[in-house]
């Protein structure tokens, strides 16, 4: 997340647009920029070996570990391009990438359900397959640059966000989160992170009309 933030600062200072695709080990619970730390059940996180990180973007708690995370830092397409306009642009990259994997995803409705867990809510920034969320995204803007990052669900961990947040661990909440989301494995799509990452990189390159010239493998 700090590396994503650094990309934003570099692009704001004039660097070329950048795409970063990565996975998490150990798992981590990321909190929105202003989400209260009190939401977290620290004991539950420690018991499961889950780290807690703070995103530079807004939104709600999100568990990383079985996802592929993407981050795009780029100049704003125009000075005051709305948040939604940038989401729509990058959603084209994500949906094209997913289509290469045989997944027909669509942009979620802007007036979808809201809630304290990122993946239990849907908004115009998110991608769904049918009515189930498969990718959640968030943005931060600095000067003439924008960073958007998000998580694409490849698979599930043996526990979820409801186990890691105070007052959220009940069977109803767990069941609601489960039916609200879908993973690439459940869709029968490839879950190999390198295969998915290559598909997303191609999708972004096509949507943004960019050619990624340098690849750095971490």
């Amino acid at each position: 997340m700090a590396a994503d933030r650094a990309l934003l600062d570099e692009v704001a200072a004039g660097a070329s647009p950048a795409l970063r695709l990565y996975r998490w080990s150990p798992p981590a619970l990321s909190l929105g920029r202003f989400q209260p730390e009190d939401d977290v059940d620290h004991t539950a996180c420690r018991d499961r070996g889950v780290e807690i990180v703070r995103r530079p973007t807004g939104g709600r708690a999100l568990l990383h570990g079985a996802d592929l995370t993407y981050a795009v830092a780029m100049p704003r397409p125009e000075r005051a391009a709305s948040v939604d306009a940038v989401y729509r642009l990058l959603a084209r990259g994500l949906t094209r990438g997913l289509a290469c994997l045989g997944v027909e995803a669509a942009v979620a409705r802007a007036d979808g359900p809201a809630g304290p867990l990122c993946f239990a809510s849907q908004q115009g920034a998110d991608l769904r397959v049918g009515e189930q969320k498969v990718c959640g995204s968030a943005q931060v803007r600095r000067d003439d640059a924008v960073l958007q990052h998000g998580a694409l669900l490849l698979d599930r961990l043996p526990f979820d966000e409801t186990d890691l947040l105070r007052g959220a661990a009940d069977d109803d909440g767990r069941a609601r989160l489960r039916v609200a989301t879908v993973t690439l494995r459940e869709l029968g799509a490839p879950v190999d992170a390198r295969v998915v990452a290559n598909a997303l990189a191609d999708g972004f390159a096509e949507a943004l009309d960019l050619r990624f010239t340098a690849a750095v493998r971490g």
Partner: protein
């Protein structure tokens, strides 16, 4: 889209209502519309000194975090604490109850570098 005549505007889509050495500041109707539903406003500290064009506050909408810049330099004299409990005021009344902070200006002549309503409207319409 609303562009009150009596205000001055920055290219970063903040408005300034000047009264003597004091400047009340918020974001424009266009800015609140572009950001979407505001869910949190990180207010500056009263007493903090800010330079013109320095970052001094942050606005989180449902899916984005954006910086707010000081259109002019000065010392933060007041902040709109009501936004803590009701950040949606930025969307509902950007030029009224949705004001963000008041600066005691260090150099009121900096106002001259800001746009009037007609120039700001033109900037928005060109985008």
């Amino acid at each position: 889209m609303d562009y009150p005549e009596q205000l001055r505007y920055s290219a970063e889509h903040e408005w300034v209502a000047a009264d003597g050495n004091r400047a009340r500041i918020g974001i424009t109707d266009y800015a609140q519309d572009a950001l979407g539903d505001v869910v949190y406003v990180q207010l500056p500290e009263v007493g903090a000194t800010v330079a013109a064009m320095a970052r001094c506050a942050e606005v989180e909408s449902t899916k984005s975090v954006s910086d707010i810049y000081a259109p002019v330099g000065g010392t933060v004299a007041e902040v709109n604490q009501a936004l803590d409990g009701a950040p949606e005021k930025l969307n509902q009344d950007p030029y009224g109850d949705g004001w963000i902070f008041v600066l005691e200006m260090s150099d009121p002549s900096e106002l001259d570098s800001l746009m009037d309503a007609a120039a700001y409207r033109q900037l928005v319409e060109e985008q």
